[in-house]
């Protein structure tokens, strides 16, 4: 990994404060402009398609799918998460720019769901990433997802969706958990 040092920034993100002059209006705008990174991690991502297209039309809430984590605000963990996917999810999450939010769909991210005894699917997502909103069900219907997003908007609007802050504050602990199951950590220490 020594060679990669010059190619990746090996520096911890700084802790951020939450507030400022425009706090109210910022939160209001953030709540109404949620850009979702289009990354289907599990079976639940099939529910996202109706959510975002004509039938349920999440765009009326100001939501959009974007293709790159750099521009996204929301990361959706749609269902079970395998170890292999988790590595990518961590990298994607860390490449998003703050403030950023995580929404977990279905039972699997909560406690493993029907894959509780799988050799490959993690049991609890919040050990590895700060989750702002859980939406239960296996799978949750688009209505439920929309309700979840509504909840996320409320949280953001009231300034309580601060998972991104928690993640930076407790980065070492999260990293410890992550490294526990990702034995061979082939990523840079900090993904930017």
């Amino acid at each position: 990994m020594g060679k990669d040092k010059k190619y990746f920034l090996d520096e911890k993100p700084e802790k951020l404060t939450y507030g400022g002059v425009f706090r109210r209006i910022n939160d209001w705008a953030r709540a109404r402009s949620l850009w979702v990174v289009a990354y289907g991690t599990g079976c639940g991502s099939i529910e996202l398609r109706p959510t975002f297209t004509s039938r349920f039309d999440a765009e009326r809430l100001g939501m959009r799918m974007v293709a790159t984590p750099r521009q996204a605000d929301v990361l959706i963990i749609s269902g079970y998460l395998t170890v292999k996917t988790l590595k990518r999810v961590i990298r994607v999450y860390e490449q998003m720019q703050s403030p950023k939010y995580v929404v977990a769909l279905g039972a699997c991210p909560i406690n493993g769901g029907m894959y509780y005894d799988s050799y490959n699917a993690i049991n609890r997502l919040d050990l590895y990433l700060p989750v702002d909103v859980w939406i239960t069900g296996c799978m949750p219907r688009p209505e439920a997802i929309l309700a979840g997003f509504k909840r996320l908007q409320e949280l953001i609007d009231s300034g309580r969706a601060d998972g991104w802050k928690k993640y930076i504050d407790n980065l070492d602990r999260y990293r410890e958990n992550q490294k526990k199951i990702i034995k061979n950590w082939k990523m840079p220490n900090y993904n930017w």
């Binding site: 993100p13 790159t68 750099r70 521009q71």
Partner: protein, 302 residues
């Protein structure tokens, strides 16, 4: 002079706002065409503010850092070189800065700057998008140049004011009607310029993320966003002045640019996407042929 700059600045703010609003309207119209409600027309303002007030941003180097400024200034410069209302002391912007030729080259500056910044991001999708965009530009420039040259030769002037003045005196003097083939060619090439749907391979979110701005985030993106909006407005204004007889007051300017704005919007919602070589060859055949018809007419009549 300072007053002029102030007016121009105000127009610019108005232009950006108008561009954002048009973007919102287009999203709304698209939504209605797809039988859904869609976001509010102010959605783009909200997005812009959110992006502008993001907490963190990443940069990949100097050009990456400067590119949004290039984009914004290029877009704004283009906008400011086009008079909104010809002859008006308040709304003719900086059209003394140059004529149509200047404008056509100045338009490239912002795109080129942004392309360089995007390329510095080191993300392969960015230069892929840029090369696609430039290639497509080589496609749509041909019919556009043809029609612009038709107008310049017909009106014996290269200034936008001159071209607008040549169209005064009734709707039938508009170049849209006096040079219908050239106008058709130009309006088809407008589709390419706006990267609206049959010619949308440049951004192609499904395959190359969003092309050039893949790595841009936060405040950088907000600059690009506003630059893009005002650039679009500048193009509408340019087409208004070239083909729709300019505007005699602000209201007319709104109406005409809105009409022009609807054209690519309607096309974009009903067409699938062409591959790059298809779109280039398309531009080099039918619209070019249309443009040549008028060019030949001008050449023979002269």
């Amino acid at each position: 002079m300072w007053a002029k700059i102030l007016y121009a600045f105000l127009t610019l703010i108005g232009g950006i706002a108008y561009g954002l609003l048009l973007g919102g309207i287009s999203r709304k119209i698209t939504a209605r065409m797809q039988n859904r409600r869609g976001p509010t027309v102010w959605q783009n303002f909200i997005d812009l503010w959110k992006l502008f007030r993001k907490k963190t941003a990443i940069s990949h180097g100097v050009m990456f850092y400067l590119a949004p400024m290039f984009r914004l200034v290029g877009g704004a410069g283009t906008f400011l070189l086009v008079p909104v209302v010809v002859g008006s002391p308040y709304l003719s912007n900086f059209s003394f800065g140059g004529d149509l030729i200047v404008l056509m080259y100045f338009m490239v500056l912002g795109c080129l700057g942004m392309a360089l910044g995007a390329a510095e991001s080191g993300h392969p999708h960015a230069p892929i998008g840029v090369t696609r965009g430039l290639s497509q530009m080589a496609g749509y420039e041909l019919p556009f140049i043809l029609s612009v040259i038709v107008l310049m030769v017909a009106d014996k002037t290269a200034t936008l004011e001159g071209i607008v003045r040549a169209q005064q005196g009734g709707i039938l003097h508009w170049h849209l009607f006096t040079h219908p083939f050239a106008a058709a060619a130009a309006f088809i090439s407008l589709l390419g310029m706006m990267t609206s749907y049959p010619f949308q391979v440049v951004l192609a979110p499904q395959e190359i993320a969003v092309g050039p701005p893949t790595e841009y985030s936060s405040t950088f993106l907000s600059y690009m966003f506003s630059g893009r909006s005002v650039f679009a407005v500048a193009k509408y204004l340019l087409f208004m002045n070239l083909f729709l007889g300019g505007a005699s007051n602000l209201l007319w300017a709104f109406v005409k640019t809105f009409a022009i704005f609807l054209w690519p919007l309607f096309i974009t919602n009903v067409f699938p996407r062409l591959r790059l070589e298809q779109s280039v060859l398309f531009f080099w055949t039918w619209p070019t042929f249309l443009g040549l018809v008028d060019l030949l007419r001008i050449y023979l009549v002269r």
